[in-house]
Symmetry: C2
Subunit: 195 residues, 2 copies
């Protein structure tokens, strides 16, 4: 089976490699259209658009396309990628001392060996509890370079781990891909495939 | 401040580096003596023995020694490192489809700038929920090389991530060092030190 990751994120590809699954990377070029502001609906929509775009461009049978999108939500408000160090600092300050949610939506589109299309989508949620941070810590982290390409302005797999008290859910979902659930769903959708 | 890690584990050193803390590595050579079979008591005892051994060999002031020990416990029973692939398979089979606990005990021994000794110890617990696994998956994972040097016969930071449904607690505690709590405790013990 060919597995195509409809995402340019090096972190997602690394997570697939971590669990022993080789993927081709083919980032979607679709223009994102969002009709909801509810976090799990947003990530389902966007992962679906990415997967559909790449599936349309992919030839052959026994091919699985994976689309994924991750957002950070704090008190119901979605935090995107920060546009500046100052904005990163504001986002970090809004997360410090509280629990927030990370949602990754995943859409799988599988063209099986007979040419039939199968589809499955799910959104996985992880709660992240952040320790209180003082101003120096917030400023130091906001300016350390890690926040700028990341939703919610932090990388749990980087320096921000010092400020994470605990999580409830899949850790890799926070990094960008819930590989535990994803592995189970791939097995089910493709009928017993084994990495 | 000098920070000395009384552990030869490359994973623990990498976790400290991840949060931006440089450590010297000085593995303890102490013979481990355990008087309890209660997981959090065991890791507290062993982390204390490691930290004391290395603190005795360490000169100077403003020096922090960190001892750590991690165990996996399933239904109250402590799982050590597997002695063979067959034993790794038995351990993995005992974890599949269930929740188990990972405990890391940490002992901090700090000789402050005035020469006074301060000490703090804590044990951190993380619950890990593992998906059901079939025989082929158990055999495949047991033989993949990852289990042999790891308590409980798995590495959450490796291929085993495919079988982890969720965790409740600090992810890095499962890898071997609860860097979130540890960072907070170092700040408190040393009086406001900042990485």
């Amino acid at each position: 089976m060919r597995i195509v990751l409809a995402s340019g994120s090096p972190r997602r590809r690394e997570l697939m490699e971590q669990i022993g699954i080789r993927t081709e990377v083919m980032p979607s070029s679709v223009e994102e259209r969002v009709t909801s502001d509810i976090p799990d609906q947003v990530v389902l929509e966007l992962s679906g658009q990415k997967a559909e775009d790449v599936a349309e461009k992919t030839e052959g049978r026994d091919v699985l396309v994976i689309g994924a999108d991750t957002v950070v939500a704090s008190e119901g408000r979605i935090l995107g990628k920060p546009g500046s160090v100052a904005e990163a600092g504001e986002m970090i300050a809004s997360l410090a001392g509280k629990c927030h949610q990370v949602y990754t939506g995943v859409t799988l589109i599988y063209r099986d060996p007979s040419g039939e299309m199968r589809r499955k989508a799910f959104a996985e949620r992880t709660d992240v509890y952040v320790y209180p941070m003082d101003e120096e810590e917030i400023r130091g982290y906001a300016g350390c370079g890690e926040p700028m390409d990341k939703a919610g302005a932090y990388g749990i797999q980087g320096r921000f781990a010092a400020y994470v008290e605990k999580i409830d859910g899949d850790y890799n979902n926070v990094v960008g891909l819930p590989v535990g659930r994803l592995y189970q769903e791939i097995k089910e959708l493709t009928g017993g495939w084994n990495a």
